[in-house]
């Protein structure tokens, strides 16, 4: 047994006993052999390694086992409603028989070198339940402003493992909007695999507004070819426990990605954004820009890594995570990482955490703006830098609306027990 496997095994005993949601029961369907094999491998992996616990460095601040202990779950196919630009969509499952052949290679692929950090554990769990989801196949040179909208609804007590496989062929331009909503304690453990071919652009928006009892884990793996662009924006406002794990490989020269997000957290929410960008070719550009607003006893996590391979000369890599803490118990854990093996690169990262600017607050109030309104205005200003970069107006408007609604209900007043340290 490898040292890594031993390491995982050590923690397996401490992982909540899931019973794997009657896994043996549903394996017997008419899915193609490769899909069956994928499930089997996933299942074996979970049996061997368990699920991630905070003892793993990359999951240090994210406690899924604690949530699982509190909730009883059973496996269900995901409730996904599609509308808008549905021309290139195949919805597969629950018997898995309609899945196009080309998806095999995509479904079997995985980020390089992730297994050793435990990052693949939730992915492998999802593999074990590879059974339903959405395939999007946009043909070459197809440009459309109309987005595909997916509404993914969680149901109390259900665990779902939908797979999204998306291919945007050469020279195309496609937009996907995902809306995550639901009722009660549902757990959605999704895997999304994206292939963006030469010169194509894919815009990917996610509004995560699950109820505060829910759990949400997402593994997204994106391959970006020569001159292609990936633009992602994620707004996280929901779920008790959530983790967005985003792995982008810039595989061809002049590929680029913009990974932006806003996390607005309250109550006891715990939201984790873990990003890896692999610069695998020269002249690529990557940009990560996140704004986190945390109040009450909520915890935010931002772990962002830029890995510049030796071949990736003239890389432009930028990463920023700024956080606003509105209460003394609010926590933000930020861990930026740069790993650079090329010598001709421009890379930078930055992270800040702080309170609202008292001078700005006083200035606004001196102009007659009541305290709560002044605070809301400054919070909106804080997130606006990321919001304004969204190139798709309907999402920008929805984002502003969600932030506004959050501000109307969040605890923004001065906490009298705030002690300066």
């Amino acid at each position: 047994m490898s040292a890594v496997a031993k390491f995982h095994r050590r923690y397996r005993a401490e992982t909540a006993d899931l019973g794997l949601f009657d896994w043996d029961g549903f394996i017997a369907d008419d899915a193609p052999d490769w899909a069956q094999a994928l499930r089997k491998r996933g299942h074996e992996n979970v049996i061997a390694n368990g699920l991630p616990t905070p003892k793993l460095e990359r999951f240090k601040y994210f406690n899924l086992p604690a949530w699982l202990k509190k909730n009883e779950l059973s496996y269900k196919p995901a409730d996904i409603a599609i509308d808008g630009n549905t021309d290139y969509v195949t919805q597969f499952g629950p018997r898995c028989s309609y899945i196009p052949d080309w998806t095999q290679e995509a479904a079997e692929s995985a980020p390089i070198g992730e297994d050793k950090y435990g990052d693949m554990m939730l992915w492998r769990l999802s593999d074990a339940y590879f059974k339903d989801g959405i395939v999007v196949d946009v043909p070459a040179n197809t440009k459309s402003d109309a987005p595909l909208n997916l509404t993914i609804t969680g149901h109390d007590g259900a665990v779902t493992m939908p797979r999204l496989i998306i291919r945007v062929a050469k020279g195309s331009d496609f937009t996907l909007c995902e809306y995550h909503i639901g009722q009660g304690a549902a757990w959605n453990n999704a895997v999304t695999q994206v292939i963006i071919e030469e010169g194509a652009r894919f815009r990917h928006y996610r509004m995560q507004e699950n109820p505060h009892e829910a759990a949400y884990t997402q593994n997204t793996h994106v391959k970006v070819a020569d001159g292609a662009q990936y633009e992602a924006f994620t707004l996280t406002n929901g779920a008790a426990q959530s983790r967005h794990q985003l792995h982008v490989e810039l595989q061809g020269p002049e590929a680029s990605c913009d990974l932006n997000g806003i996390n607005i957290l309250s109550g006891k929410q715990n939201a984790d954004t873990t990003i890896t960008v692999e610069h695998q070719a020269p002249q690529c550009r990557s940009n990560q820009n996140y704004r986190n607003v945390v109040t009450d006893q909520a915890t935010g996590i931002f772990q962002g890594k830029v890995h510049v391979h030796q071949i990736a000369q003239q890389t432009d890599g930028y990463q920023l995570s700024n956080s606003l803490l509105l209460s003394p118990q609010a926590v933000m854990n930020t861990k930026p990482e740069l790993e650079i093996y090329a010598d001709d690169v421009k890379c930078s990262h930055g992270a800040t955490s702080g309170r609202l600017d008292e001078k700005a607050l006083f200035y606004l109030r001196s102009r007659g703006i009541p305290e709560l309104q002044a605070r809301a205005l400054l919070i909106q200003a804080f997130v606006s830098e990321v919001m304004e970069d969204i190139s798709f107006d309907p999402i920008k408007e929805q984002g502003e609306h969600i932030v506004q609604r959050w501000l109307d209900h969040a605890t923004l007043s001065v906490h009298t027990d705030w002690v300066e340290e």
Binding site: D357, E358, K359, A360, F362, Y363, L364, R365, S366, R367, G368, I369, P370, E371, Q373, A374, L377, L378, Q380, A381, F382, S384, E385
Partner: protein
């Protein structure tokens, strides 16, 4: 109209204002001059209610109302305006959003009807024109990247839109060249009215060439050390503040 009586205030336990008395009648312009460290800016902040500036004794009333009991925004709604020495840059908040929010908050607090976007835009355009402020400046974030002159003109613009009863100008002349000073002073002068009082805080007499005060006071060591007419400013310009600075403070 404005009555400041025996005002004592401290910052982190250090007493800065030590029994200040000042009475400003309706429509009057008073100037407060004084050496550095006398407490001039502290007075402005105490009047506006800045956190950390603690009033330990005395009273301040505006038209008989005790303003020390009010929150900062309530003071603004009651008619107090502080033009900042260093206006704060607020990236991400557009000037138009800021002006609309401020003006409507004040109108609401006063029981007046709120302005719609069109009404506000018209008012803003009129006032900008008077003050030589470009439309382009209104499209930017509050004070963000504004030059020193633009920031001060922006303070006067806000004052012109809010139409306060009592305006405190904290070293509005600092950092301005002579042309900018004239524009700002003209803007202030245009707002002089029977029902509006001003307190002009300045280190130099220069500003008072453009904004003519009715009364001049010297603030030294946290108290009014001397009061007089406009001629007092000229006298200070000539002799300096030496006679008001104690050896300890120097």
């Amino acid at each position: 109209m404005i009555e400041i009586k025996n005002l004592h205030a401290e910052i982190e336990g250090n007493e800065i204002l030590k029994g200040l008395d000042l009475s400003i009648g309706e429509g009057e312009v008073h100037a407060i001059m004084g050496p550095n460290g006398a407490g001039k800016s502290t007075l402005g902040y105490v009047l506006a209610g800045r956190e950390g500036y603690e009033v330990t004794d005395g009273s301040v009333t505006m038209d008989g109302e005790d303003i020390l009991e009010m929150e900062t925004d309530e003071r603004a709604a009651a008619g107090l305006f502080l033009a900042f020495q260093y206006p704060v840059e607020i990236p991400g908040v557009q000037m138009t959003t800021f002006l609309k929010t401020a003006l409507n908050a004040i109108r609401k607090a006063r029981g007046e009807e709120e302005l719609d976007a069109i009404g506000l835009l018209k008012l803003m355009k009129d006032k900008c024109k008077q003050l030589g402020i470009s439309d382009e400046m209104m499209k930017r974030a509050v004070n963000a990247g504004f030059s020193g002159g633009e920031k001060k003109r922006n303070e006067v613009l806000q004052m012109a839109m809010i139409e306060p009863k009592f305006a405190v100008l904290d070293e509005t002349d600092s950092g301005l060249d002579i042309d900018a000073l004239r524009i700002v002073a003209d803007g202030v002068n245009a707002l002089r009215a029977k029902n509006r009082s001003f307190l002009v805080i300045t280190h130099y007499q220069r500003l008072l060439d453009y904004i003519k005060p009715d009364h001049v006071h010297v603030l030294a060591d946290g108290k009014i050390a001397k009061s007089g007419g406009p001629e007092l400013a000229l006298e200070l310009e000539e002799k300096g503040y030496a006679e008001f600075v104690t050896e300890e403070a120097a």
